[in-house]
């Protein structure tokens, strides 16, 4: 406990990163894997903003986290396009069932 400092934010974002990694490894549904990626990107953003407040990174950290958000949007759009293509071809979004090459 005590006064909230840099380490509190870093530990929080480490735990969120752990959740995202767990979703990435163990989820069957492709959309839930995508949600895990969003958790990981949010953890990275918390780190950037915390460093920009506490360790002299300044507004540069904010700018970089805006770029992270932009890339997250692009990635979500592309990944959902791929998931919809997967669904039209296989009628499933479970990653372990999409295991054949194109015939």
């Amino acid at each position: 406990m005590g006064e909230v400092g840099l380490q509190h934010y870093l530990i929080l974002s480490a735990i969120i990163f752990g959740f995202g990694l767990y979703a990435l490894i163990s989820r069957r549904n492709a959309i839930l894997v995508l949600m895990g990626i969003e958790l990981i990107l949010n953890a990275a953003n918390i780190n950037l903003i915390a460093f920009s407040k506490y360790s002299g990174l300044g507004v540069d950290g904010h700018v970089i986290s805006v770029f992270v958000i932009i890339l997250a949007v692009a990635e979500a759009a592309i990944a959902l396009g791929i998931i919809l293509a997967l669904y039209t071809n296989y009628l499933t979004v479970n990653l372990d069932e999409a295991n054949t090459m194109k015939d």
Partner: protein
């Protein structure tokens, strides 16, 4: 224990509980709603860290954009009437061990490192500074980001269209 600390721990608990539901829930819609709660409480941390523009962007882009897109994806790939919204996890125990190991390593590094804390700045507002940064130091990444978004738009439409 001041007000700042109480808010931090309250929203830390909300974030971690809803994040846990996101990665363990069997129902996909429950996971999506928990992601909604989690993204909002992460925006609270940005406000606590004097990042007003990032907090607003988080709410606009993540909740207004990505989450709606994800729910669209869920709706388009599941037959709602057949109650096919259930899902399951694979290889839970190895994934749990691996994840807990990685997280423990990161946390031990964070605790054992002696961080150089230069200053605890207080910004009045960051919007003007971020705008100036975008058009001076970060001009090239800014333009490249617009091209990336255009390519993502065209690419997603190309993948998702009917053949």
């Amino acid at each position: 224990m001041d007000f700042y600390t109480i808010i931090f721990y309250l929203f830390a608990i909300i974030t971690l509980v809803s994040g846990f539901i996101v990665v363990t829930s069997k129902n996909i819609m429950h996971a999506a709603v928990s992601l909604f709660v989690m993204l909002f409480s992460v925006a609270v941390f940005y406000v606590l860290l004097y990042a007003d523009f990032i907090a607003i962007t988080q709410i606009l882009v993540y909740i207004g954009g990505i989450l709606v897109l994800l729910i669209f994806g869920i709706m388009l790939t599941h037959k709602i009437t057949e109650a096919d919204l259930k899902t399951s996890n694979l290889k839970v125990v190895p994934a749990m061990i691996f994840t807990v190991g990685i997280t423990a390593i990161i946390i031990s590094i964070v605790i054992s490192t002696k961080w150089n804390i230069f200053s605890t700045v207080r910004y009045e507002t960051t919007v003007e500074k971020i705008g100036v940064m975008f058009l001076t130091n970060y001009l090239l990444p800014f333009e490249v980001a617009s091209i990336v978004l255009l390519v993502a738009l065209i690419g997603a439409a190309m993948y998702a269209r009917k053949k």
